[in-house]
Symmetry: C2
Subunit: 388 residues, 2 copies
Amino acid sequence: MTADPAEYSGRLRRVQQRMQGQSLAALVVCDPANIFYLTGYDAWSFYTPQCLVVPACGDPHLFLRAMDAVGAVALCNVAAERIHGYPEDLVHRPDTHPFTWIATAARALIPAGEPVGVEGDANYFSPRAYFALADGLPANRLVDAGELVNWVRLIKSPYEIGQLRIAGAIAEHAMRTACERIEVGRRQCDLVADILTAQTTGTAGHGGDFPAIVPMLPTGDGSGTPHCTWTDRPFRDGEATTIELAGVYGRYHAPLARTVMLGEPPQRLAEIAKITAEAMQATLAEIRPGATGACVHRAFDEVIRPHGLRKDSRLGYSIGIGFPPDWGERTVSLRREDTTELAAGMAFHVILGMWMDGWGYELSEPIALTPDGFERFTNLPHELTIRR
Amino acid sequence: MTADPAEYSGRLRRVQQRMQGQSLAALVVCDPANIFYLTGYDAWSFYTPQCLVVPACGDPHLFLRAMDAVGAVALCNVAAERIHGYPEDLVHRPDTHPFTWIATAARALIPAGEPVGVEGDANYFSPRAYFALADGLPANRLVDAGELVNWVRLIKSPYEIGQLRIAGAIAEHAMRTACERIEVGRRQCDLVADILTAQTTGTAGHGGDFPAIVPMLPTGDGSGTPHCTWTDRPFRDGEATTIELAGVYGRYHAPLARTVMLGEPPQRLAEIAKITAEAMQATLAEIRPGATGACVHRAFDEVIRPHGLRKDSRLGYSIGIGFPPDWGERTVSLRREDTTELAAGMAFHVILGMWMDGWGYELSEPIALTPDGFERFTNLPHELTIRR
């Protein structure tokens, strides 16, 4: 449990208000980031089914595997009598599912006849879990409540912005380490060990938490594939590496991407680096309350289009709390089609990933919107890093 | 892509044989470990929807986000014409889902009227994905094929046992590092950095891969909660820490757990350590082809019961390939209720986690069954480690 009680009660109130708007008698929350947001519960227990049942009014109930339920009261704001452990023999069984037990136990908490919301696209909520829940709540209709809690998370409190600032300091430290320690002949895995050390030791005042995504560093021929992790092959002279990592503090993520060239950069790479830095300036200049992803994308596009370039993937996404496998919030994206009005307190990873045929270039900034513009969480140059 | 072509063709053949047994025209595989098993595809792209469509006969098709599809041909055994990228603007959209696109594209590959298998409880296959797939394949009926590919993975090939041996060497190195570097006053996160470094640098010959679960090290008051990760608080004199980690090589996992005491162990801890070491000997002595989880559990129980102890959670589970959030295969568990006959080539994490009221003790061994017994992948003493 990390935040103060008023922070949690405000979060719950906003979730229950949205639930009311959808006439939900209860919401079954499975996304570990959403459970953490509402309760502070943080353990690597999400590999077996678990959920928070949020009633229309009143306090939520947490359902965990028995082994995890025992000590959970010390880890979150849920009172012991509202933490329920399902029996150990239900774990990974082909003939039954923990959500059958959970549905039976939750039935008393949910008025019959009323719709119950689920997170239809959450990680760690499977179709089998869905059907077990539906069968176990025959007097209720399940409805996909969309990313209801995720949307409440969109505007960060001052406390959350503070967590993101610390995460930003850790991200900057990790990226500096990466850019300094990469060298020709060194194994990729050895550089990654240095990055992980920087992420985890953090700063003297603030130790780092585990990232929702491990460092990704596509290099050489593979640098056109953004989500490659690493191998034990050495870095080679004449090759570029894109590095994407996050600083993490108390589950809040500040992701950051840069590109490093070992040796003399080919002209096409030097050019794309220059254009991307210019595009980043133009993109950031549009970010303020009242703008939309569409305006931001237009500013970016106006810089790259004259160079014959195009980019189909989004320019960024909302960030905050993250659990594996993703540090994005799955709500607002900075792209042509997004019409959400940006507002103070939103936080984004603005990432310009330029994916060419067989190679790539990445430059990013984690930021938050302020009343009249934005705040950067890291402070590193926007140029291509060259190690000769 | 890590294994040789014959390895992959044998895996596909065994999966298609099982599919035939269930009369499936196709199987939609979403579990990243299963996709890796069949194709070698390995990237942190599973945070957006992806799947491998395995037809009843013939070669599978891989569906990924466009950004990931571009370079995927270099990462796996799937030919370029069988890799399909869905448009970037479908990522994290509230009004549509990538599986709608995937279903439309896959329709031509699947005979109408035939049942199509899905992995109903796989990670990264959500209810919304399921319903989009069902709607997009109106001429087919979706059936939960259970853990079909996972069961094929149960018996490891000599190549896979070789990967697990390397993973075991890395696990042993990481655990030795953890037990040597833990000390009173040191921040938990600083010890974790050393563990991560050992896991990632691996050995001189074999660099380590990322683990499906980060190191877990519940300590002091929290040592009764098995899946706690770490904080930036210092280790304290008079407190025990249980450490669970994995050595990972080419996605194969050898998990390992030990308990370390800083200072003089309380009598109850020393006693449980002694009983658990004895129980481990008894448990391992039962592991051989022809035994079942039930026999193994009985041998364990006969050691602990006279001491007034009981353990409801399983004593182990099948291991091999792992992707976040789990390094278990979700098939055979070593427990009372499991009647699967053990066989040569199966690999297990035998983990004796003794969870008491507010404290815990862990001791484990990653092993594989041989024709007449078992092979250990690590070689560390079974005693409580005491750092005075």
